[in-house]
Symmetry: C2
Subunit: 304 residues, 2 copies
Amino acid sequence: MADQILPSWRDGDTRDAILGFLDRVDEIPPAHRVAVFDNDGTMWAEKPNYPQLEFWFLEMQEAIGADPSLADKPEFRAVIDRDMATIEELGLEGLATAFLDLFAGITPEEFDVKVARFFAEQQHPRGVPYRQQRYQPMLELMDELRSRGFDFYLVSAGGAEFVRVISQDFYGVSPEGVVGSQIDYEFTRAADGTPRLLRTNHVVHSGPNEGQAKVPNIHRILGRRPVVAGGNSPGDAEMLEYAMTYDGPSLALLVNHDDAEREYAYESKAGTFDTEETILETAARLGWTVASIRNDWATVFSDS
Amino acid sequence: MADQILPSWRDGDTRDAILGFLDRVDEIPPAHRVAVFDNDGTMWAEKPNYPQLEFWFLEMQEAIGADPSLADKPEFRAVIDRDMATIEELGLEGLATAFLDLFAGITPEEFDVKVARFFAEQQHPRGVPYRQQRYQPMLELMDELRSRGFDFYLVSAGGAEFVRVISQDFYGVSPEGVVGSQIDYEFTRAADGTPRLLRTNHVVHSGPNEGQAKVPNIHRILGRRPVVAGGNSPGDAEMLEYAMTYDGPSLALLVNHDDAEREYAYESKAGTFDTEETILETAARLGWTVASIRNDWATVFSDS
């Protein structure tokens, strides 16, 4: 069997570590078989931009077409000028605050239609559908975990509602299996009294689903305790660390973006746990399994 | 087929209305087949006390045994004296605030052990396990919905963590399928740096999962839009009303506790939508289906 599973993973220490974990799954009670994976940069490519950022670009352009004065908004200006330094500085969360105004006052269904249209009509800059930006080796690992009774969840800093539109199709994850950054909704009534639920521009009190926040959010939203966690950035560190505290076999898998040729080569400048330790140093110190895209993945992207 | 399904529902308008809805499920796209049901008083009995309140009673007694000064706390005093007027006045939420102190600083797993022990060791005052306080007709309806492709969720004002301990066993609902009142968690570290997640005594910003709050919480937590909703009190009204706004067949089912002999006979004193309209008047006005326990249920409780 071992030579048939995980075909996109090259032989080596990383594949051996994963297989070693899979061999021990019997030691984990079925109710504890819970896997949580980050999405951007872990399950699909996040470069040159987060797909959600590309979605915002397009929505912004459409909004500016209808109301040119919007172009004066500093966050929009940075995006229009492709001022990547400012964009990087604002971060996904800083931009989110500005962009969430675009969707305030519409229903969840109206938002879903916009996202579905984005994925149906747009392609990744590489010239392929976003579906083909999914990482084939991670999909294989997902399947192996599921075949061993794991429940597989997505835990993303991205908007929960954005990810949920494609989570079933891309990963077989139902909407309630997605933990993401959440906006508040407002319960309103039309003139005739009919209730309508509308998006606001507020992110819920716990803030973006990133870093430390991922751990309590997993418990609040899913009510489960992870024993397998996958990530690629300091924003995933606490989640991986927490999975490793399980009193039994556990797996913390870090994707290392070191393949400029087939994917992208980059390292987060942010330190882990608000220190200066890099995420790779943290991984080494805490014994996480590191997947080098260059060395460990025979195939990078899904072709389906 | 029609004479074999829903065997615990007596012939009549209510059963006909449910069967009429089930016959039209084909008109609902599979992805829209989402059912949300309240728990207390809708899926199981909530009298003479909410099961969660009985759990709190026991935990309080244990805590007072360890620290007698706790008995001076007004909320605890009301419970000790079985001062039902004060308890009623404080409401589930008022009591919750006091009782949540009992569980602050423990891990989610430690809390789960307490709840599991409660259900394993305690019985309902009727002298049966709490499992047998589930309503047989509602379980049959749940099964019929599932067999037609519905995802079935619990949306309770009770604590999400409390309900999740028994949701799989009692209703086949996985923990992430439970929307309930949520407490905040605190991410902490032990002296050696190991992360630990601890309960706080704070209910999350959106407050108890009751009334209007149920609708946004369903979208935030589940990412789904219900077309079937079940409830029994003004705290479920907006959820039922919202399900009926679906542009296709929908079902809003209200359980009416009118059977003093086999269950309990009571009516909420609270009005619906902050008006003086009773929940039964609201049901009549908005065309909800009302299940009279006395008239519509041949059997009330599950015997398994």
